[in-house]
Amino acid sequence: MANKEKDITVHLKLWRQKNRKDKGQFDEHTLSGVSTGSSFLEMLDQLNEQLIIEDKAPFAFDHDCREGICGMCSLMINGQAHGPEKATTTCQLHMRSFEDQDTIVIEPWRSSAFPVLKDCVVDRSAFDKVIQAGGFTSVNVGNAQDANAIPIAKENADLAMDAAACIGCGACVASCPNASAMLFTSAKISQLALLPQGKVEAEKRAAKMVEEMDELGFGNCSNHAECEASCPKEINLSNIARMNREFFKSKTFSRKD
């Protein structure tokens, strides 16, 4: 049987910021009666119900699917993106990872490319722009040939799937001292580079996506590997190496536009 769940009390230090322009500060709250079987976000729901009843402003944070796949939830928890558990999104983090009377510090993703909108809600639309720069195959509906026309080695298909598992949450950027988006960008470049369908546009894709990434204000990679450590989907650092090769090919061999 499951280890018996119990109720604990936690002390929360929450980042509060009214809007994009506000300077922001930490607020402190104590929350009792938190079941260790609750998810971290259910704990915050519980806090908000309490705050509303006490006529205080509820705490704003992003979340949606609560199954660890939509990438909407974020939160720096005690300085770690998505909290202390490996390969786990905030919504899949459970209170049994904390002890009674723990202090938990909750902050937003911090990066100039992800401005804070309110409390811990940030604007991650920069990721959409990176994909718009080339993270697709230009195949219009109606063009496709039979799905089995081109066999793809299982190993490549599996590696492509591993890269494609990225949920676009932004933990990689938030964890990186340079606020680099290289793990995110490389995951898409890698997926498409590994598949024959992606080869057609490979010549320009990497250069275009990397240039867009730089323009949006994301930093460079200096091999800290914090991105890989914090990634809830365990996207591998080797994708960045593959992206760099693709970028090099792009820059070296590409015909001029």
Binding site: L51, I52, D62, I69, T137, V141, A144, M161, Q191
Partner: protein
């Protein structure tokens, strides 16, 4: 009757209907397409694929979603796979068989012509997705792998690990981004639909709230497409995402769109059981687990032993016992109902006694742990994260949870609602799954509607309708915006004592108890009166903090709960007026001697389509009669 239900099913044999219809559809020539603007609400598989493919054709698309980016729509959470009639496995599959299985699986409450078209285009979907770079699972020869799924005896399900929905959605999303870059799609994220604007009887725009600034915006177009998903969150606890809501569809209903079969909800058999009062949502464990997992409960009631201590002969593998030919792979409605029966007989397991076991012990012994890990590793990890138990060491505990809604806005063969110009795609419409959806069919339907149906039928709408030029200064926009703002002011001024979630949880309990897995007349009547009472309390005792001109999650929730409080009543009413059992709709009064769902084809082989008459007035019930010319009506049997 103020609306006419003309399903517009094309003439001819079922195999030729879609081809004939496509030929007869009016075309819009390429240089004229850029003169049309289409609004698409929702960016899941249906909305995302529709937006991308219409933009590719040259239409101007305005795409709206509630999340911060289209890639987060809840289609992303679909785990198991997508069906297609490719017959790559040489195991006897065909378009006809997929069609047949889907009509039968839907318990004969879907429209044959739509289902046949769905089966026909299923193969194109797989081709399109592979071309987009969707990394489907492959075998060692490099060809696409398939697995079998509940309700089917062939392997026709394509999958990408346990993340098929994610990969298909990212394919559609990337196609959208390609069109955003070209300027053919304008993207509006973090927007919530507050109303549909109907001008001269045609859908011409929407009113939305910008969830960051609180601004109320008007958007005009030549047609409106709703792909806003299902309404499972009416139960509060479901496998839907937290923001999934019925808002857009409900506003359309109140503007005159018929709502079909609202009581047809799917309770998915394999979810992680509820753990406590503060729980906010339920998590699905893919149905694909039933390929290798065996469902059982202790043979005698109130057996509190650890599962590993219960010997084989004291276990009841009830699905294998009752349904020897389908065993653990019976359709979802059958699996769910049987789990409830076991729990009702006090054979439920776990601390709460509201769960059954799904056991992988034999599969691990047969195929080895690495093979099982390869197939289900990510699901097992997810299970362990939530429950703190390892499915490698002891059986999973599962229990049914609300997952999908087959009901939705009524549409004709062109996917148009009873409001001209308002088209409805994916889970938001009602057409293809009847009273029960088979596994791996939702992804298929969403993408079929968006990639392969609407691009043709929208052209036909433009080609056959003369649209007056209108802009957002039209009085109907003034009226709709004023009403939306008035509702927001009303929420903020109630200044009561209870939160939106508090009301939502109460509603969820009423729905689960009376409009859940088993329904009967008395309970449904109780539900209607309790919901009315709760709705009155909501409008006098709701408490919303903060203001309109900021990010205000409680204000957003209030709008959604207000809609659910009206929808819940309609669902109960629909269930009450269908005293037969079919698919996911099980009326205790209508069972076979073996306690299986007993249909009444003589009186109820129709879709019930509801017409709004006022919040506190009884809606009108209309019928679309269903005819079965190709799949003979039989009592479903999986024995």
């Amino acid at each position: 009757m103020s609306f006419k239900l003309d399903s517009k099913i094309p003439e001819g044999p079922i195999q030729d209907k879609w081809e004939n219809h496509k030929f007869k559809c009016k075309l819009v020539n390429p240089s004229n397409k850029r003169k049309y603007t289409v609004i698409v609400v929702g960016t899941g598989l249906a909305g995302g694929s529709a937006a991308a493919s219409m933009a590719e054709l040259g239409y101007n698309v305005k795409s709206f979603c509630i999340q911060d980016t289209p890639r987060r729509a809840h289609s992303i959470a679909a785990q198991g796979g997508i069906n297609a009639a490719k017959n790559y496995q040489n195991d006897g599959d065909s378009v006809w068989r997929l069609f047949y299985d889907t009509v039968k699986g839907g318990d004969y409450r879907s429209r044959e012509a739509n289902v046949y078209r769905l089966a026909q285009v299923s193969n194109n979907i797989i081709d399109q997705c592979v071309a987009q770079g969707v990394p489907f699972a492959r075998d060692y020869g490099g060809y696409l792998d398939n697995r079998s799924f509940g309700g089917a005896q062939v392997s026709r399900t394509f999958y990408a690990k346990g993340q098929t929905g994610q990969q298909l959605l990212l394919g559609a999303y990337q196609s959208m981004m390609k069109e955003v870059a070209k300027g053919k799609i304008d993207l509006y994220t973090r927007r919530e639909i507050l109303d549909i604007v109907v001008i001269d009887g045609k859908a011409r725009g929407i009113i939305v709230r910008d969830l960051i600034s609180g601004d109320i915006e008007r958007h005009v177009a030549d047609a409106v497409i709703l792909a806003s998903g299902g309404y499972g969150n009416v139960y509060f606890l479901s496998t839907n995402a937290m923001a999934s809501n019925v808002g857009a569809a409900w506003k359309a209903y109140k503007k005159g769109a018929g709502f079909a079969n609202p009581c047809f909800t799917q309770i998915h058999p394999t979810c992680i059981p509820v753990h406590g009062e503060n729980q906010a949502k339920l998590t699905l464990m893919s149905e694909s687990l039933r390929n290798d997992g065996r469902v059982w409960v202790p043979a005698k009631a109130d057996d509190k032993r650890h599962p590993n201590e219960i010997p084989e002969e004291e276990r009841d593998y009830y699905l294998e016992r009752i349904y020897p030919s389908f065993g653990n792979l019976v359709p979802r409605d059958v699996a769910s109902r049987n789990a409830k029966t076991m729990v009702d007989e006090n054979k439920g397991v776990g601390d709460t006694g509201v769960a059954v076991y799904l056991d992988f012990k034999d599969a691990i012994a047969r195929d080895g742990q690495p093979a099982i890990e390869e197939r289900y590793g990510n699901l097992f990890e997810m299970y362990q994260r939530i429950t703190n138990e390892s499915p490698y060491e002891q059986p999973m505990r599962i229990y049914p949870a609300v997952h999908y809604t087959m009901g939705g806005l009524w549409v004709d063969y062109n996917l148009q609602s009873t409001i001209p110009g308002l088209h409805v795609l994916g889970e938001a419409n009602f057409s293809d799954h009847g009273a029960n959806r088979l596994g791996a069919s939702a992804l298929m339907q969403g993408l079929a509607d968006g990639y392969f149906v609407i691009p043709y039928t929208i052209g036909n709408y433009f080609g056959t309708n003369k649209l007056e030029k209108v802009d957002t200064s039209h009085p109907e926009f003034d009226k709709a915006e004023k009403a939306a703002k008035a509702q927001i002011d009303k929420f903020l001024n109630i200044k009561g004592k209870r939160t939106a979630d508090d009301f939502h949880k109460k509603l969820g309990k009423i729905m689960w108890e009376h409009v859940g897995m088993a329904r009967e007349e008395k309970g449904l009547k109780t539900a209607i009166s309790e919901i009315k009472k709760l709705r009155a309390e909501f409008w006098t005792d709701l408490k919303i903090p903060g203001n309109q001109d900021e990010i205000n999650r409680e204000l957003e929730k209030a709008g959604r709960v207000a809609d659910f409080l009206e929808l819940g009543e309609l669902m109960a009413r629909d269930a009450l007026t269908r005293p037969e059992s079919c698919g996911g709709h099980f009326r205790l009064e209508s069972q076979t001697p073996e306690n299986e769902a007993l249909r009444n084809d003589e009186d109820f082989a129709h879709s019930a389509v509801w017409e709004f008459k006022g919040v506190d007035d009884e809606p009108a019930r209309h019928k679309e009669e269903l005819t079965f010319e190709n799949v003979p009506l039989t009592q479903r049997s999986y024995k």
